[in-house]
Symmetry: C2
Subunit: 134 residues, 2 copies
């Protein structure tokens, strides 16, 4: 039980965080997740933190890092299942998870990811058309 499992679901990767993210575990998760995004050519990463009742600045930074790294590999990150108490703590700590998209639960997170990907595809097609015109 040394590593947090990463589940592949179609184009997306799903991670549920159930344990305290101490330093090494968090860094391992970061590395494993980015490798999995590359290996599976994943278009999205869903991180469920519904079992997390306490967040600190370290965990906030890890989530931000994952989102930024994934973006470089063309994958969107959505954090789901933030408990009300956690939302309060995050804002009071001055950590509003900038750059990280959020959704209420996994289902809505999937919908959000799907819409983001569809939007991306549309944009790319539009760009292609423009290129062809010139």
């Amino acid at each position: 039980m040394e590593r947090i499992p990463i589940l592949k679901m179609g184009q997306f990767l799903l991670v549920t965080i159930q344990v305290d993210l101490y330093d090494r575990l968090a860094l391992d998760l970061e590395a494993d997740l980015i490798n999995a995004v590359e290996k599976n050519a994943a278009k999205g990463v869903l991180i469920d933190i519904s079992a997390v009742s306490i967040v600190d600045s370290f965990m906030g930074r890890i989530l931000g890092n994952i989102a930024n790294m994934s973006r470089l590999l063309d994958a969107q990150t959505v954090v789901v299942g933030i408990q009300p108490a956690v939302a309060i703590t995050l804002v009071e700590l001055g950590l509003p998870l900038t750059g990280v998209r959020t959704a209420l639960n996994v289902e809505r997170g999937m919908e959000l990811l799907n819409s983001l990907i569809t939007f991306d595809d549309t944009t790319e097609e539009w760009d292609d058309d423009t290129d062809n015109d010139h």
Copy 2:
């Protein structure tokens, strides 16, 4: 971090086990899962144990219990992500998870659940037709 989160994904519930299932946690999971099956009218339960490196007879029994209870509520249970070493241990312990369906990973588990449900629906339709004839 006292309870294992249960994620709703369409008609299915997904649980990833990342921590040692000591007595109370396992019983809580059993109860939470059965309540969630009833509340969401779930048709299937996916249990990912890819992070589990050691299983004992207690955990084997818990998995069997969950499968049997879910079946009473018309939901199928599939256990996914069994590590090779865990498979060896299970058989050597004489615990071949009787009554529990298994699949290699979450994606294949979802496919299996979908096929089981489709099969169920077909059977029910067939039953309905028979009833109408008489």
